[in-house]
Subunit: 218 residues, 2 copies
Amino acid sequence: MILSNAEENYLKAIYALNLLGKERVNNQAIADKLTINPASVTDMVRKLDEKKLISYSRSEGARLTREGLRIASKTVRKHRLWETFLVEKLNFTWDEVHDVAEQLEHIQSDKLLDEIDKLLGHPKFDPHGDPIPDANGKMTRIHSTPLSEIKEGSKVKVVSVGDNSAAFLRYLDKQGISLNGILVVKEIQSFDQSLLVEIKGKKEVFLSTEACKKIFVV
Amino acid sequence: MILSNAEENYLKAIYALNLLGKERVNNQAIADKLTINPASVTDMVRKLDEKKLISYSRSEGARLTREGLRIASKTVRKHRLWETFLVEKLNFTWDEVHDVAEQLEHIQSDKLLDEIDKLLGHPKFDPHGDPIPDANGKMTRIHSTPLSEIKEGSKVKVVSVGDNSAAFLRYLDKQGISLNGILVVKEIQSFDQSLLVEIKGKKEVFLSTEACKKIFVV
DNA sequence: TATCAAATTTAGGCAAAGCTAAATATTTGA
DNA sequence: TCAAATATTTAGCTTTGCCTAAATTTGATA
Ligand SMILES: [Mn+2]
Ligand SMILES: [Mn+2]
Ligand SMILES: [Mn+2]
Ligand SMILES: [Mn+2]
């Protein structure tokens, strides 16, 4: 079955919300995620239900069927493999890849996907530290913690970021924070919970609570 | 200006027809090229004219404006660079690339295009022997001849093919004909103009007139 | 339990890109 | 020159995916 970009985006949104813990996904959440009007979501979930890609009911909300899950995770796989490809092979930076990958993830070609995967050596994580589902939809789950919940004095490693926007990623670049970077939490400011962080042997920077919530560490 | 896939495809079709010698392109020709109904073409050429990408009049037909030409040749450039990339870097065969390139040519990212071009070493020709326009739309023109017009006894080199369909390309594979292959025209059958051709030191094959019209040689 | 807020759906519309069938133009060529 | 063939346009319709505004439903809470 060939799906439209819109349909794939809805499935991906539901998939992402599922992973965030909500196994029942309501229309409002999908609408927020995709920045689409709830009335439009009503139409689309109905269509996806008819196509048996989700099961939807007013009370239960939406949940992916086995087939819907397969397509959603394949789309995420494509997105993250393309992002990795762009960074590894085409000199893109991590703040430049998301928008292009949003387009590339809809290209239909199994061979293309397989060959990109092979060329990259079957990577397990994308440039933002997000796990890449394998061909069966399975992916490595890392139990990380937001930097905002780390105790004073702890030494941690950055494993992923919770915001792929160019603005946020460039802010991190500016602060000197990158994937796999080692941080030491020097001080937690009591009045606003912002952090004074030492970046492994380099410098000390202040990070807002907002930023710290989006930096995941182990 | 961001164009839809459909708009880009129309511009590309007009561009291709222009290169075939027809500088005035009529709706019927566009319709045939894109396998679209002429009534639909009327709507679209009107829109492209309003957007100043073509100039259209009932009597003159359609002709690309400078901007329309720029976009058309950029789209062709993308198509052919992607085809080349797929063959050179991802183990695709020449009969597998066209359909995927039809999708990839619509991805919007100048950086992506430039990096692919750089990775490939600024190739001048695609896997079907078609010239790749450079960033300014200029491309190498090779004055080739259809094999169907070659005299008996001549020794020629295959430089391009006039049909990118998987069916035709696999037929050529089967016959042992490939780009840059050397052929000697042994005999022209008088009753149907089909050719007996020797493939450089390998074997002799019969080629139908139809096939010979689509094989370009120097 | 009555009320208010949030979520969902209905109703009606719009733009893009296609279609068919019928009406008009334009060419061609007998 | 005029009829037939070809090309173009009009009119009206379809699907997809979105929108706003106005119900309606559900659910929390006072
Ligand atoms: Mn992304
Ligand atoms: Mn990512
Ligand atoms: Mn092609
Ligand atoms: Mn080609």
